[in-house]
């Protein structure tokens, strides 16, 4: 492989040579050599933790390799800052949108300019038109970013990445927040860029995307390059051959007999395949939660709820699908008691809790796992132990007449850490230092406790690697099996189809319909997601 890489290195825009990067306790990248060619979409596949993010940060100039070198047009180059990376023609689109919502599109694009020069609007405008033509996008340059859809915001991000120069475009999990339509648009854009001779790197953990868009596929596993499929070989392969080859690389099976054993569930996520689960709904009992005609007040840049009504039974998993930003956040918050009800009514097993705040609702068994794990779900600088009891402050047994029993709080934390397999140096470690998967374990441990009766989970697998996605979904299903009424809000339709009994679809703050999770569900949901009336 090394020999191949060196030979092929001639035509590459950017190439890595034996790049190694260590972090405390782990080798994030281990002697990785890769070439990125003009006019080619190079897919990097791998689980989170395989080294993809590290690779992104090296190319984006946020970190530097410990060993090895990065070649730009054949010359060894030090990329010591994001600015340098951009100057070299490497544009990066990160997973999260990094635009200033209150500024217009063109203002956002001009932000990176030299601050010694005056804002050159005319020049910026012509560059914007140039890129719009190149990408085939139709975005209003003077529209404020906050008014754009996520897909459009991503298009602006791509424009910004290409703003200086269009040599190499690095897309880090770009489809994770897009609608099917958005993914199709993105695919068209990538192909146009490819035809113009741009080198593209597409980072993903979804196999189907890799096959659909990729000319060349490289698989990273535990920081190493586990294998690479060159364009000619990739084209010659059938779909099932590709799948088999890539999966061998990803999971490192010996190549014979049953390489996939023990990984069926990861594969299900990987392939977007659906696994059925046995329903635990108990319709003999009264509905756990009844929501009638619920509405919330509008808030800055957030979609409020209108006329939302539904019921959830004990043991049921109600999925809430929809494109991000269609009122899901308000729905979760209003159920948790974090946001006032403007209109309508919420009953918890026959008890009107419309006016109750977070503490009352929590006491009655309502739990809320927020998608903003570090922003509001936890206090990053506080210990794991404190965060585990964050919503119990002042209540016995951890507090006695308002006095903290730290011994008990810490002992409880040690138990929870063991029981939930939270990987942390100790219960005193600040929760912000844990990985995303472990922060989520802390939240799930706190919210899916024995007293829970209704649990609302907002994007519970967002940003987690396959293994932790699996664990989170398992815990949710297990909670439902214990008789908890579970509401899972997610933008990932595949996971909703896997775990839900019924799936509701949010569109512009309304619940456009709830469909039973049968074979026709996926199509119905996709139609509802675009705002079409329920069939």
């Amino acid at each position: 492989m090394t020999i191949e890489a060196t030979q092929a290195g001639r035509g590459a825009v950017v190439a890595l040579r034996h790049v190694t990067k260590h972090f405390p306790g782990i080798v994030a990248l281990d002697r990785v050599s890769l070439d990125f060619h003009p006019g080619e979409i190079h897919v990097l596949l791998g689980e989170n933790g395989a080294g993809k993010s590290t690779l992104v940060s090296l190319l984006a100039g946020m970190q530097r390799p410990d060993e090895g070198e990065i070649l730009v047009r054949g010359n060894p180059t030090v990329i010591d800052s994001p600015r340098r990376s951009m100057d070299l023609g490497i544009g990066t689109v990160f997973q999260r949108v990094l635009l200033v919502p209150s500024l217009t599109v063109i203002e956002n694009l001009m932000l990176g300019g030299s601050w010694l020069r005056l804002l050159a609007r005319a020049a910026a405008r012509s560059r914007f038109d140039e890129l719009s033509a190149l990408l085939g996008t139709r975005i209003d340059a003077d529209a404020p970013v906050s008014g754009l859809s996520l897909g459009e915001q991503q298009q602006v991000e791509i424009m910004r990445a290409l703003w200086r120069d269009e040599k190499l475009l690095l897309l880090d999990e770009p489809t994770s927040m897009l609608t099917p339509q958005g993914v199709a648009d993105l695919g068209r854009m990538m192909r146009r860029l490819k035809e113009k001779g741009v080198a593209l790197i597409l980072i993903t953990h979804k196999l189907l995307e890799a096959f659909e868009f990729g000319d060349r596929i490289s698989v990273l596993r535990l920081g190493r390059l586990a294998g690479e499929i060159e364009p000619q070989r990739l084209q010659a392969m059938s779909e099932s051959q590709r799948t088999e080859t890539v999966i061998h690389m990803m999971f490192g099976a010996g190549g014979d007999a049953t390489p996939l054993q023990g990984h069926e569930q990861e594969l299900a996520i990987l392939l977007g395949r659906k696994l059925r689960r046995a329903s635990a709904v108990d319709h003999r009992k009264p509905a756990a939660l009844v929501v009638q005609d619920l509405a919330t007040a509008p808030d800055f840049a957030e979609t409020p709820l209108h006329e939302v009504s539904f019921e959830v039974w004990p043991g049921e998993v109600l999925g809430i699908a929809g494109v991000d930003g269609n009122g899901q956040k308000h729905l979760a918050e209003v159920l948790a008691g974090q946001r006032p009800v403007r209109h309508g009514r919420i009953d918890l097993t026959g008890l009107d809790i419309t006016r109750g705040h977070v503490p009352e609702r929590r006491q009655r068994g309502i739990r809320y796992v927020t998608d903003d794990r570090l922003g509001e779900g936890t206090v990053g600088t506080f210990s794991v132990a404190t965060n585990l009891v964050l919503k119990e402050i002042g209540a016995p047994p951890y507090w006695w007449h308002g006095i903290s029993d730290w011994t008990l709080i810490h002992r409880n934390a040690r138990e929870q850490i063991l029981r939930n397999d939270i990987r942390t140096p100790s219960e005193l470690t600040p929760v912000g230092k844990l990985s995303g998967g472990n922060v989520q374990k802390v939240l799930l441990a706190r919210e899916l406790d024995a007293e829970a009766s209704v649990a609302v989970l907002n994007k519970p697998t967002y940003g987690l690697d396959l293994h932790n996605q699996r664990l989170a979904l398992d815990r949710i299903v297990a909670a439902a099996a214990r008789g908890i009424a579970v509401i899972v809000i997610s933008t990932d339709l595949d996971e909703l189809l896997e775990i839900s009994d019924r799936i509701g679809v949010m569109f512009q703050g309304r619940l456009r319909g709830i469909v039973g999770n049968d074979d026709a569900a996926a199509d119905q949901i996709r139609r509802l997601m675009t705002g079409a009336a329920a069939a």
């Binding site: 260590h22 972090f23 405390p24 948790a336 008691g337 974090q338 705040h357 977070v358 503490p359 929590r362 809320y368 927020t370 903003d372 922003g375 509001e376 779900g377 936890t378 206090v379 990053g380 600088t381 506080f382 404190t386 964050l390 919503k391 402050i393 002042g394 507090w399 308002g402 006095i403 903290s404 730290w406």
Partner: protein
């Protein structure tokens, strides 16, 4: 690694993080004196002798600590809860004026003990009242309290001045000031020294505040409010109420400081009196990293510098406020040592 070793190592590290900046500040402060053609050793010697080694000076140093500690207690509550109450001067001064005006009047009706207690309570209450507007604005509308408390502070110091000149003035004196409280009616002295019992009250307040912040549910709630407001909302804390409570406690303690200083030391407030301790204590609280026990040490250090610095400055011939240069240097070096320590840890980690 056992827990004890861990704690021991941490203690040493903390001590070093304080001792290194203090030493550096003193050395650089000395170099500046040297550059001015003054004798640094002489200056430090005088400071030490005047403020700690002589009994009279030591008593003065300890007395000076009382208001500083009470203000520090008030600031720790606020800062730990992420609320920047910088209106201490106004709260302090109005409380001082209120208790100074009340004490001689009340003294004619009530015995000494109740008079002093009532006056201290009134002082605390006045401080709290003066923070009410910033508190409500912050809690309801999220108005930046740095600006509102500072503005209220300017208004407060002016109002105190006006009150003395127009309403509360003692007509028997030429300089506008409140009626003087007889020395015997002031806060009792401790064991035949000149130190008044406000010092004990202040130390108690700092320790109680520290315990409240670290050992109680209320304190933890305030810390969450300070560390992550969104998490506070998420956890169902009553953010508005907590915010108002923080202002009330913080300004109340600062008001108490004003009352104690007047009832214990001066017995009267002159119209032009404004020790401006509120902002002086801010750096000390930061130096102590909002730790109640550490703040006692820093207050002693600062108090000694203040007491000794005045006469030492006169004898060596540098401006009296040279002490502030030392405090500034100390802050600078503390930040620097902190920064170097962080980046060293980062490079070790990498």
């Amino acid at each position: 690694m056992t827990t004890e070793v861990h704690i021991g190592a941490r203690f040493t590290a903390t001590l070093l993080r304080v001792l290194i900046p203090v030493t550096l500040a003193l050395v650089v402060g000395g170099l500046i004196l040297l550059a001015l053609g003054k004798d640094p050793l002489g200056y430090y010697g005088y400071v030490l002798e005047r403020s700690l080694l002589r009994w009279g000076g030591a008593q003065e140093t300890l007395t000076r600590m009382a208001p500083l500690l009470l203000i520090a207690a008030g600031l720790i509550v606020a800062f730990r809860a992420g609320i920047w109450n910088l209106g201490g001067d106004g709260q302090f001064l109005l409380a001082a004026v209120a208790s100074a005006a009340l004490a001689p009047v009340l003294g004619g009706i009530l015995p000494r003990g109740p008079t002093l207690v009532v006056c201290m309570l009134v002082g605390g209450l006045v401080g709290t009242l003066w923070s009410l507007l910033p508190a409500l604005l912050k809690a309801r509308y999220g108005v930046n309290e740095i600006i509102t408390t500072l503005m209220m502070s300017f208004l407060g110091t002016s109002l105190a001045n006006v009150l003395i000149k127009l309403v509360l003035r003692d007509l028997n004196t030429t300089v506008p000031q409140t009626r003087s409280l007889a020395v015997d009616d002031r806060l009792p002295r401790l064991f035949g020294t000149t130190i008044h019992c406000g010092l004990l009250l202040a130390i108690l307040a700092v320790i109680l505040v520290h315990l409240m912040m670290t050992r109680t549910a209320f304190g933890l709630r305030l810390q969450i409010l300070g560390a992550n407001r969104a998490a506070a909302v998420h956890a169902g804390l009553r953010v508005e109420r907590l915010t108002i409570a923080v202002f009330a406690i913080s300004a109340g303690l600062i008001g108490l400081a004003g009352a104690v200083e007047v009832l214990g030391v001066w017995g009267t407030v002159r119209a032009d009196w404004n020790p401006a301790l509120g902002l002086l204590v801010v750096p000390l609280v930061f130096l102590a990293r909002f730790n109640g026990y550490a703040v006692i040490g820093f207050t002693l250090f600062f108090s000694a510098l203040m007491v000794g610095g005045e006469s030492a400055a006169r004898r060596v011939g540098v401006p009296q406020h040279y002490v502030l240069v030392l405090v500034a240097l100390l802050l600078l070096f503390l930040a620097l040592v902190e920064y170097l320590d962080q980046s060293r840890r980062k490079s070790v980690a990498n």
